[in-house]
Symmetry: C2
Subunit: 90 residues, 2 copies
C-alpha cells in the first residue's frame, strides 16, 4: 500500500509499541514513522531497534529527525521539549 | 582544525554536557559527535538541541545513527542496549 503510518511512543511498556509497529507492517505498510518527545525518546529508539532486529527483516532507517517542540506550560508560559522522528521503510 | 570530537552523555545534569560541546566548538572543532546509550539517549537529544538553539549558530545535523550495543551483564550473559550517535557540523 505504501502508506505512511505513525506510531507515537508514550509511557506504556516498550513491547506495546513494538507490537503496534509490527502490526502496521503486517497490515501492509511499507513506511513507518515512530515519534516521541522528552523522556520517551529513549524508548522510541528501543522500539525501532527491537522491531528491526527481532521481528521484521529488511527494515532500514530512512531518516532520523531531531527537533524541539514548544508546549504550553501549566503557568501560562511554554516549555521546550526535544522530539525525535524515526522513519523506517522496507 | 576540522578534527572530530566525541562527547559521551552520562548521568550528569544536561548543562554539563552542553558546556562540554560548546567548549569543543569554541576550541576550534567543526565536527562534534554526541554519543549516548539507554536512558541517556533522551538527554543526548536535549544537549544537541540546546547547543544548536541557544549557543552555536549555524550548527547543523549531519547524521543521526541508531544502533544496538551488546554489553556484558552481571550474570555472565549479555544485555542489549540501544545507542545513538548524533553528528553535528558547522
Amino acid at each position: 500500500m505504501g502508506e505512511e503510518n505513525t506510531v507515537y511512543i508514550g509511557k506504556k511498556a516498550t513491547m506495546n509499541y513494538v507490537l503496534a509497529v509490527v502490526s502496521q507492517i503486517n497490515a501492509g505498510c511499507d513506511n513507518i514513522c515512530i515519534k516521541a518527545r522528552g523522556r520517551a525518546i529513549s524508548r522510541a529508539v528501543d522500539v525501532a531497534e527491537i522491531v528491526r532486529h527481532r521481528f521484521v527483516q529488511g527494515l532500514d532507517y530512512k531518516d532520523v529527525k531531531i527537533a524541539t517542540e514548544s508546549l504550553p506550560g501549566q503557568d501560562g508560559g511554554s516549555a521546550n521539549v526535544s522530539s525525535i522522528e524515526i522513519y523506517m521503510a522496507k
